[in-house]
Amino acid sequence: MKKLLIASLTLFSSLCMADIAVIAHPATADVSLDEVSRIYMGRAGNLMPVNLPENHPLRDQFEQEALGRSPAQMKAYWSRLVFTGKGRPPVEVDSVQAKIEFVASNPNSLGYIPASEVTDQVRVIATIAN
């Protein structure tokens, strides 16, 4: 049942683009979307961004809407930094649920999830509305 729900949610989000909530540990202050984008591009180092696996529809949507780049462009962007010792891509977790748990237990971390899946373990610090 749960799997079906996730599958249909995934389908739903890829069809009509859900709102995205940027979440952090409850103790974290608000961060502007500009800053979130900077953090996910590895240009600001105070918070630790958490990513979803490559090809995850929500990751593709987030990168397109918040960072303005396609998956291939993001890969090219990181390959410029990874092979030169200038930066590392964000850590990846397998699922939205794993991301919520990671962010809830790491005070300086930051993630993005579908706005509809926000729990009280985390705090929404910014929203990308569609």
Partner: protein, 378 residues
């Protein structure tokens, strides 16, 4: 109680040692497989001739990074180039110490940051062209052994990346047709990259002391004869001995997600030597349509030979002809047009097709090249 504490601290110590021994090691890699041929039997360009060749520009690289904890990590990149029969060499090998979130120090074998794309010029996946523009990216020495400090920061809403580097290089190059031993001592440089939204700009300034000695001794022999025959001035104007060298580069870029514009202009000077001022620039424009990025670019390389070296010799001087021939070998005037497209057909691979047409105004010839290649990152 005491013994328990001892046991506990021993346990902690063992745990720490174990975690250090099992450092977090990650592997990344990239590869390019590129095939090409010139369009007519007399054309020669970038190592290609009229026979289809898959070796010339192909390469494989594997990078390993070991995180040693406490902000220290070690990175090594092993690369095999087709042009070197895929013999693997360490292209990079350095340790990184993160002073803080904004500042990191790299020490070891590093890429010399002459150009905007120096750091990742071998990672074809990182750009749209089949190769970085040769009119600008043409120095034979891309690496050095030394120390670099990179500082990231923000100036208002502009992202800044400032790099200082010191080091030295020794290797071989081709001076005139003959190979030469080359060394650059006391390399010191600074680069500054600024990014705001879709715009980026980069400045580079490097200096060093360049020495070149030709291996077959022809140049050295000529210089000795000149000195012995009373033309020591001419000899010293030619010789490349601890010559003060400077490099300047300016790059601008614009990328709004669909439109990709870039340009770079460089100038290199080697004082008191036969090597003339090296000038080069390129302009490139591309447009992303879904997975395709067609582009067009123009490059120019324009080096005037230091004719005053031989013009200072009298018309009847027995050395004049040889000196003139040597000096004029350093004149390079080439214009190149490139037309091509990148196609992102896979999340980790891009297919590229590029046509290049180069006009050599010194040799008065045109060479045309077509290449098809795949660039991967993994």
């Amino acid at each position: 109680m005491v013994s328990k504490i001892k046991q506990l601290s021993l346990g902690v110590l063992l745990a720490c040692t174990a975690s250090a021994a099992h450092a977090d090691i990650r592997f990344n890699g990239f590869a390019s497989i590129q095939g090409g041929t010139t369009l007519s039997s007399s054309d020669r360009l970038y190592g290609y001739d009229n026979e289809i060749d898959f070796k010339n520009e192909s390469l494989f690289a594997l990078q390993t990074q070991a995180d040693l904890g406490d902000r220290l990590s070690v990175t090594a990149q092993l690369m095999g180039r087709g042009s070197n029969d895929f013999n693997a060499e360490f292209e990079w090998a350095y340790l990184t110490y993160e002073l803080n979130n904004q500042t990191r120090i790299n020490a070891g074998r590093l890429r010399t940051p002459f150009y905007r794309y120096s750091d990742f010029m071998d990672v074809g996946y990182a750009y749209d062209w089949a190769r970085v523009p040769n009119s600008v990216y043409n120095l034979d020495f891309n690496n050095l052994e030394g120390v670099s400090l990179v500082r990231f920061g923000q100036l208002g809403n502009v992202d800044s990346s400032l790099q200082f580097i010191v080091g030295s290089y020794s290797g071989t190059t081709n001076i005139t047709p003959a190979p030469a031993d080359l060394s650059i001592e006391r390399v010191a440089g600074v680069t500054w990259e600024l990014t705001q939204g879709n715009l980026s700009a980069r400045l580079a300034y490097l200096t060093g002391k360049l020495t070149m000695v030709d291996q077959d001794g022809q140049l050295t022999g000529l210089l000795e004869m000149l000195s012995e025959s009373g033309f020591a001035d001419t000899a010293s104007q030619i010789s490349i001995d601890d010559a003060r060298s400077t490099f300047m580069g300016l790059a601008l870029g614009y990328d709004n997600g669909s439109m990709v514009l870039s340009g770079e202009v460089v100038r290199a000077r080697v004082s008191d030597s036969v090597i003339p001022t090296q000038n080069g620039f390129y302009l490139s424009a591309g447009y992303r349509v879904n997975s395709f990025t067609p582009f067009v670019s123009f490059e120019r390389r324009d080096n005037d030979a230091k004719a005053d070296i031989y013009q200072a010799l009298a018309e009847g001087n027995p050395f004049r002809e040889r000196v003139a021939a040597l000096v004029e070998e350093f004149a390079i005037k080439r214009d190149t047009w490139n037309l091509g497209s990148r196609y992102d057909f896979h999340p980790s691979a891009a297919l590229k097709v590029q046509f290049s047409s180069q006009k050599d105004k010194v040799a008065d010839r045109r060479d045309q090249l077509l290449t098809v290649g795949i660039d991967l990152v993994f």
